[in-house]
């Protein structure tokens, strides 16, 4: 599904190298987690994959089902099936959540040469999916993320994911700003979307999110490289001993 090879990335303005040769292969239907201390390059990884400006890829590649995505515009990556759930979902005053969702869904369908959803069909689908995520109709009418609580914003991200039906989902610190109940709700939303054809890359500081979204593989990212890869037990090790032991062991 997603294959990252020897990815080197630096910040365009500062010229500082953040990723120093990341290698990662995620198979169809797999859930991988990336953990790592602050400044290790976790968010950079997600932004570079989604196509945010301000980063320069100096070496390496990233392909989705064999197709290079690094040369694509963000919207093309989205249409190809990539989805990034933001750590800080953006507030957009004046744009209704429903309008936003419908525009996005239909833009992707159009890009893939599929027929656009009618307003009625869209409404039916979004209502059904919102219900499973405990999102009330009022949230759909409000401007995108404006005045939403932390939990509402993250649920809104998952709703977008549910509507857009991507094959590769990146969750960037989805647990940040969530209390235990909200985290549970969001995780249930994610788990409901797990399927054979859909893969996840869950980026997090803490092991607790991985209690709810169980990963197949856990990677430790430090100083721009993946320094250790293992099963779910690796996340527990981090939780118990912190990153210091692992980092010392690697060095």
């Amino acid at each position: 599904m997603l294959e990252i090879k020897n990815l080197h990335v630096k910040l365009e303005e500062e010229g500082k190298e953040i990723l120093k040769g990341v290698n990662l292969t995620i198979g169809a239907g797999e859930v991988h987690a990336i953990m790592g201390p602050n400044g290790s390059g976790k968010s950079t990884t997600s932004y570079v994959l989604a196509g945010r400006e301000g980063y320069e890829v100096t070496e390496g590649s990233a392909t989705l089902d064999g197709v290079d995505i690094l040369g694509m515009e963000p919207e093309e990556r989205a249409a190809a099936g990539l989805f990034l759930a933001f750590q800080y979902p953006v507030e957009i005053p004046g744009v209704g959540n429903m309008t936003f969702l419908r525009t996005a869904v239909n833009a992707q369908r159009k890009a893939r040469g599929e027929e656009e959803l009618s307003a009625a069909d869209f409404l039916k689908e979004v209502r059904a999916k919102a219900k499973t995520l405990n999102i009330d109709a009022d949230m759909l009418k409000r401007p995108v993320n404006v005045g939403f609580s932390g939990g509402e914003k993250k649920r809104n991200e998952i709703l977008q994911m549910a509507m857009l039906e991507p094959k590769m989902c990146i969750l960037d610190e989805t647990d940040s700003g969530l209390d235990v109940d909200a985290m549970k709700l969001v995780s249930e939303g994610v788990n409901a979307l797990r399927s054979e054809g859909r893969s996840f890359l869950v980026i997090t500081h803490y092991q607790r999110l991985l209690d709810h979204i169980k990963p197949d593989v856990v990677h430790i990212l430090a100083n721009g490289r993946i320094v250790k890869t293992g099963g779910p037990e690796l996340a527990l090790e981090v939780e118990n001993n912190g990153y210091a032991d692992i980092l010392a062991e690697v060095e």
């Binding site: 196509g51 515009e73 919207e75 990034l84 936003f100 992707q108 977008q160």
Partner: protein, 428 residues
């Protein structure tokens, strides 16, 4: 005080090209007084405080600069609204294209006929509100209009008007130079909506005076559409009585020069005045100026100004907004926001927000911002699959939509939003 020679000469040059229309005694008196005001003030020049950002030369020249007629192929904005329709072509009333001027609870006539009648209620409004609006800031082009306008609508509303009046202004002559003057009087408790659409003429000078009695409500929605070369100056003068309401919204796209002045005087307690505008400016020939002056002269009144401008390709947007709170106008709630969204480095937004307050128990706030499209929001939309151009349009529309929200009637707001989004699309 004598005018500087340059100004006196320019004023004489302008006035010599005009003759005062004939009419009943009261009308002649009002016109002569207005002419005397123009002569005393002189026509505006770049050095005048409120013309520093906008060059009035095209508006004051003895003859109107040519303006090619632009065929947009669009129906007038409010064509689909159930309203009494009135059409002016290059400032001339078009009886054939207009509905009969009759509506329950509303007296409607043309200024051309009202000014011929020896006794007419318009006597108490015509030139009167314009004159009140000359202090403390002079508005010579409005006085010029009062002196020389020969036509317009004269509307007196005694109850709840069953439908709006929708005026369409068409521009068909390259050299047309039109002066129109509307007089509107809302009696106690009356309700009325005025809709206006269209570019009007190569050069257009329009004054609307609105006298709003106690507990009456006046709603105004206008679009100044895509006529690339026209020049226009408009003055909307209103006086608000106790517990009355005034709401005005304007959408503008294109035109070489547009100066919209709104001058409001809140004279009765508990009155509410909202003025809003959205503008889509494209091209270095585009210059759009909103100049608003709201005077609070009563207790517990509310006023609100919301102006948004999207500018690109060298377009210039100007906002000059003032709230004056007189001594004794306690519990005033004044709000003013003006925002420019610049889509490139060549465009300009010039803002001059002013507050002048002589009462001590008031809440007045103002804000003015200028910026580019929010890159984070743009990336967010694109990451969801919305192409860059569509994402920018969506954000631009959202920016302007905040001003459109000021329109109370949802149907009219939708009408304006639809037109706005069409105009935005065409300018990409």
């Amino acid at each position: 005080m004598a005018l500087p020679k340059i100004k006196a000469d320019a004023t004489e040059a302008r006035l010599s090209a005009l003759t005062l229309p004939s009419g009943a005694e009261w009308a002649t008196k009002a016109r002569k007084e207005a002419l005397a005001r123009v002569a005393a003030m002189g026509i505006p020049a770049r050095r005048d405080e409120y013309w520093r950002f906008t060059n009035p030369a095209d508006l004051t020249a003895p003859t109107a600069p040519k303006a090619a007629v632009f065929e947009s192929g669009e129906a007038p904005t409010f064509a689909g609204v159930d309203a009494l329709k009135v059409v002016f072509v290059d400032g001339v009333f078009d009886a054939e294209a207009s509905d009969d001027l009759s509506m329950e609870g509303v007296e409607i006539s043309r200024l051309a006929s009202a000014t011929q009648q020896d006794i007419h209620w318009a006597k108490d409004v015509y030139g009167v509100l314009e004159n009140r609006g000359q202090t403390p800031v002079e508005r010579p082009l409005a006085a010029l209009n009062t002196a020389f306008a020969t036509d317009g609508l004269v509307i007196r509303v005694t109850g709840h008007a069953p439908r709006p009046i929708a005026i369409t202004y068409l521009h068909k002559e390259e050299t047309s130079d039109a002066n129109l003057h509307h007089v509107i009087k809302l009696e106690e408790g009356a309700e009325f909506t005025l809709l206006e659409a269209g570019p009007a003429a190569a050069r257009f000078n329009k004054v609307t005076e609105v006298d709003i009695a106690d507990t009456a409500s006046f709603h105004h929605v206008r679009t100044q559409g895509r006529d690339h070369e026209r020049r226009a100056v408009t003055g909307l003068f209103a006086r608000l009585g106790t517990e009355s309401k005034f709401k005005s919204f304007t959408l503008t796209a294109n035109g070489i020069l547009t100066r919209n002045e709104v001058v409001l005087e809140l004279t009765g307690d508990d009155a509410i005045a909202h003025v809003a505008g959205a503008c889509v400016g494209d091209g270095k020939d585009f210059h759009h100026d909103d100049t608003v002056f709201i005077t609070h002269d009563a207790v517990n009144c509310e006023s609100r100004q919301v102006f948004k401008k999207v500018l690109r390709n060298g377009a210039v947007g100007v906002f000059q907004g003032k709230i004056l709170v007189k001594a004794g106008a306690q519990k005033t709630d004044g709000y003013q926001i003006s925002q420019g969204l610049l889509l490139d480095d060549d465009s300009q937004f010039l803002a001059k927000p002013e507050l002048e307050i002589y009462a001590d128990d008031v809440a007045c706030s103002h804000g003015s911002t200028v910026g580019a499209i929010d890159e984070t929001a743009l990336f967010y939309l694109r990451s969801r699959g919305v192409p860059e151009k569509a994402a920018k349009n969506l954000l631009t529309l959202a920016f302007l939509a905040e001003a459109v929200q000021e329109i109370e009637d949802e149907g009219l707001a939708e009408e304006v939003l639809a037109r706005m989004s069409e105009w935005l699309d065409r300018h990409n």
